[in-house]
Assembly symmetry: D2
């Protein structure tokens, strides 16, 4: 902020464009019938939602820029974490302010609902941009009312939303960044060899403890062994590349095997100072994902209370749609699911000192400053 001359004075109203912002509420009930007092709230809260969506997109675009760079150093990761932190705080507000809308009762909504047809949240281009930029895959979208999601958009919005499908998403850029991490090779061995050995030792010890436990009846023993079997099976999914590829092709897992390895290393060795920010990054991405899930779910509860099983404005059976998409539209659920493959600190292979140096090198130096 080089300051060689005084800047022109700014005033609050102009700086915030309040004239435009505060003159953008026109009640359809005023236009077509009798004023429905609650329509004002309905307009204003949706405008507030869209303003927050704009802010989320602004942060998201910056994240795409950061991870689209060839060289990413630790201070960039720190910036990325703070962008995610902001998105998270906004998401909490998106969820909490549903309570404001709930001060409108279903009877009050009936007073102006018919005037709005077919306006609907399905027509929000910004929300679709957020989904696409995060990495929601078009083929994973829950089809709604038989129509393509973009068919609900204004044609002037369609181009940008379509474009966002084609451009690299945050998921894809993150995956590539993870795959590029050099710390999976540990000299003569590799993180994956050592991890696999540790898992096998741990599982064998667990099995031994069950089989040798004299306090258990045969029936109880069998029950514990069944549970043990499930644990063994689930570790197989990550240890064996072919099993991993199989669940990927079935759509049950998305992150590539190499990126999965890198993410798991970050989770397991997160106490290494140099992995602090990468660990925060993975954690915050899972937070963002969960908070959108919670928002859809919370939103569905409210809609179901507001309109029952009746047809939503815009012809949507809104609450069902929102509930179905809540789980299905998760993007970073692989990261949360990685917890399945953690092992206790006591079983954790020690990080070779040259790898520690590598970590430092990768994050601090190679990435430039």
């Amino acid at each position: 902020m080089a300051k060689d001359k005084p800047y022109p004075p700014q005033y609050y109203n102009d700086y915030l464009n309040l004239k435009k912002i505060l003159d953008s509420q026109h009640l359809k009930s005023d236009e077509f019938g009798t004023r429905a007092h609650d329509e004002m709230l309905f307009i204003i809260i949706h405008q507030v939602y869209e303003l927050w969506f704009k802010q989320i997109l602004f942060e998201l675009d910056d994240l795409l820029t950061i991870f689209g760079e060839k060289e990413i150093n630790e201070s960039h990761i720190g910036t990325a974490v703070s962008r995610l932190d902001r998105i998270i705080e906004i998401q909490k507000i998106l969820i909490d302010q549903v309570r404001v809308l709930e001060t409108m009762t279903p009877m009050d909504f009936l007073d102006f609902r018919d005037f709005l047809i077919p306006a609907s949240g399905f027509q929000s281009a910004q929300f679709r941009l957020i989904e696409n930029k995060l990495g929601l895959q078009p083929e994973k979208r829950f089809s709604y009312g038989g129509a393509h999601y973009r068919s609900y958009l204004k044609s002037s919005d369609d181009k940008e939303v379509k474009g966002s499908e084609a451009n690299p998403s945050l998921f894809e850029l993150l995956e590539k960044w993870l795959e590029r991490t050099p710390f999976l090779s540990w000299g003569k061995t590799s993180f994956w060899n050592e991890y696999e050995a540790a898992v096998k030792t741990m599982l064998a010890s667990d099995r031994h403890l069950i089989e040798s436990n004299e306090n258990l009846s045969d029936e109880e023993k069998q029950k514990h062994l069944n549970e043990y079997g499930k644990t063994e099976l689930s570790f197989g999914l990550v240890l064996d590349q072919s099993q991993h590829d199989a669940v990927v092709s079935k759509g049950e897992w998305r992150l590539s095997h190499k990126a999965t390895q890198a993410a798991l290393l970050i989770l397991l060795y997160r106490e290494q100072p140099i992995l602090h920010n990468p660990y925060q990054l993975l954690t915050k991405l899972a937070d963002v994902d969960e908070l959108f899930t919670t928002w859809r779910y919370r939103h569905a509860l409210m809609v179901s209370r507001m309109i029952g099983k009746k047809i939503g404005t815009g012809g949507s059976t809104g609450s069902t749609y929102l509930n179905q998409t809540a789980e299905k539209h998760r993007i970073f659920s692989d990261i949360s699911a990685l917890t399945t493959f953690l092992i206790p600190r006591s079983s954790l292979p020690e990080l070779p000192s040259e790898v520690k140096d590598d970590l430092g090198f990768y994050f601090h130096v190679k990435g430039g400053e």
Copy 2:
């Protein structure tokens, strides 16, 4: 919503005026220097605040209409309570979303702060309207920087804000409504006589219990009697009209003696079904008052963290101002303070049955339907 012909179709973007709303963010750091990433948040969160202020004013105006009517029946009180409920939920969001702004660090703020001088929240006309319509008295305003609060406003806003000083405020209308309640006269006696007698009996019994308590040393007895004396004194403030008038003229109490009596009756007999809504009304007004206090206080904490003791944008030592006004700008604090004068249910004079009928008559019938 008589429906004899189909309404024209509405679309989300147009209905919400998104073109205007989402095109109202212009970063001064883009204009005068290097983009400061966090300026976007600074703009958007303040626009969100102003949208919520508009909604609060919309509810407040409806409250002024309700209490400005000659006849107010119970269902109007019910509507008033639901308006206050909405204001309360909005206030909670105003407070919680300070956390979003706190994701901007003081160093990030420094990147664009100088561009904004002298813009400042002091220039928000809507917030001044809220204060005036609730009933903040001009002479109670904390003077800031030696200048009159309206001198910070745009001249185009000044007229409306000045007008709101002159019009009856919610405080004044509420006071008049309370004074008009007919239920203070109880046939041959009055609520006030009965209440006074009950208080005196209660105080005499308390004094007797202290004086006759053999477990207390003389010193302890004296300590308890001192405390007792303070209680007696504070009841005097409400029982004795001349004492009441004295504290009013000193500015320590605002509600007239008659309105104070009516409010106290509502608090004491709130379990009467017919007093349910009036009791809710008083409670919610105290809530609104406390939440604005909390908001100022929470805001002050944030500002103090953001700018330290430096001079705020607009030349305000913002955090000090906000902290000082937090308590001083309370409007309905008399209602909270009434708690001081509650007496236990066991000491409460019974409500004569004709008064119960009167209550029903006053709220249900006389007010029309």
Copy 3:
């Protein structure tokens, strides 16, 4: 609180039994291995949950007493509403404090998790009591791990929990109270007749508007008529007793037809002062239901993040169970679903004046005072 002699002095520590409360945290990691710092939090947060469960049960028992009485007047309903309000505030804390537990990372949990087997939240007798007293039907319970839910309880707890299955639940008592309301009969006609007529008029007008709309193509017209057909169908479910009984026998609806009518009347005429508290009652019951749903859901998110897809302590695949029960274990979902059957105020049949009097009589007088 008759006060003829001084009460013995009380002290904070003794009154709250702090000696016992604060000496009830014994870390298994201290006993069997190395102290796992986070185990203290794990113990304390679960103790806090159980204390809140105790408080919820205390309020719930009072609700069962209120609705178990033969005569229920409006002030009882007011008390019931305030009991529900307290439960709601507690539920919000139960949900929010999941965040405290989330400051424990999955790796930290692994440090002491194996010491606790097979302890699990499934062994909480208080939570089962809450479910049963609210009205969860044993046959609706999601079977977990093939075992009956009571098989997880201590035998000393089993008796009370089993008893709570047999006693009338809040759902059942509420249903009976609704069925007893006398205001469904409207002299020569009935609420139900009038409501049915109003619905039919409204639907016919909707159909006409679609068919006569010249702006719609044939294809669009058909689409709108399809949607219209669904609306007509869903009203059939409530209007026609035999259809209603069919959905009840399929387990898709639970409230009897008569109770459904009464609840719908309360929702439609909630602006009648005398229906204010009954309306609040229905609303708060739906709130309690939704908040338990949200709590299970939020809890599931946390568990899934903490233990991934691994087997939970106590052998539970906790997160899946919680997610599956979130919707299935709802008890008052019929009340939220009633929104489906609301009609606009403009179509609402006017309440006959003798019914208004009846309402007053039923709630105020007949219920004693």
Copy 4:
């Protein structure tokens, strides 16, 4: 968690000591009069508070251990940050759950309040321990009712609380840690010299901009120069050791000059990866401080609403006390106030590369690993 034999099975009820926990609620209104329904909530919420206080103390003790060590490396700082994160989440719950207590009305409280005399929150030993361990100075304590704060405690608690006054507090240990940081010396120059030069350049430029601004009238110019003068003055407080010592001796500042320098360096260069955790540490300490302030304040609002200006249980005019201590009992307010002395990134002296290495050395290597 070496695992050579199976651990004994654990059950939920026993593990959590539920028998003791859930049998610790004895209503005085049951004992001395008629059951006051709301006394159960009063007991349980205070027990919940004390459980959370125990957890806060547990985290605080760990923090004292960490900062009491001779060698502190970055991963210790990371642990310290996560301890503070947990305290913060607990504090938010402490604040939010005041809402649960507010479901008790003042009239309900009157039903059992006299039974509890003189029990009071002033008798909570755990809260005093928290204050002392954080670093509240005995001489800074707001005297309450003329008596020493420890005179309210049980004699069995007095010893531990007194001891906590004598032991090094978190404030003191933090100050020593800051003073020990080696990075203030920058080869031939020092951070302080460079910072002072940068401040002076910045101030001179600010003054020049005002004086040369042709858009300002003489009066406006003078006003701006007055504000400028205040800024210059406030920088003097930190730049000049003797001025600093003067404000310390007046009790307006507490952190030593050297520790203040180190804290300021951490704030200014927080984007250096190695300063990430130290920066988080300072930020979280300010958070903890503010949240206790908010808690006292929120608590005061509630008490004032509950008991008015009457004498509190235990003879306390609780709300006044809490309000007065809210600001006065702050411990880490110097950290928030440091914001005053930040300068824009563009004016920031560049960190010499050998200092960057020093930072790495200090945090990573010297601290062991």
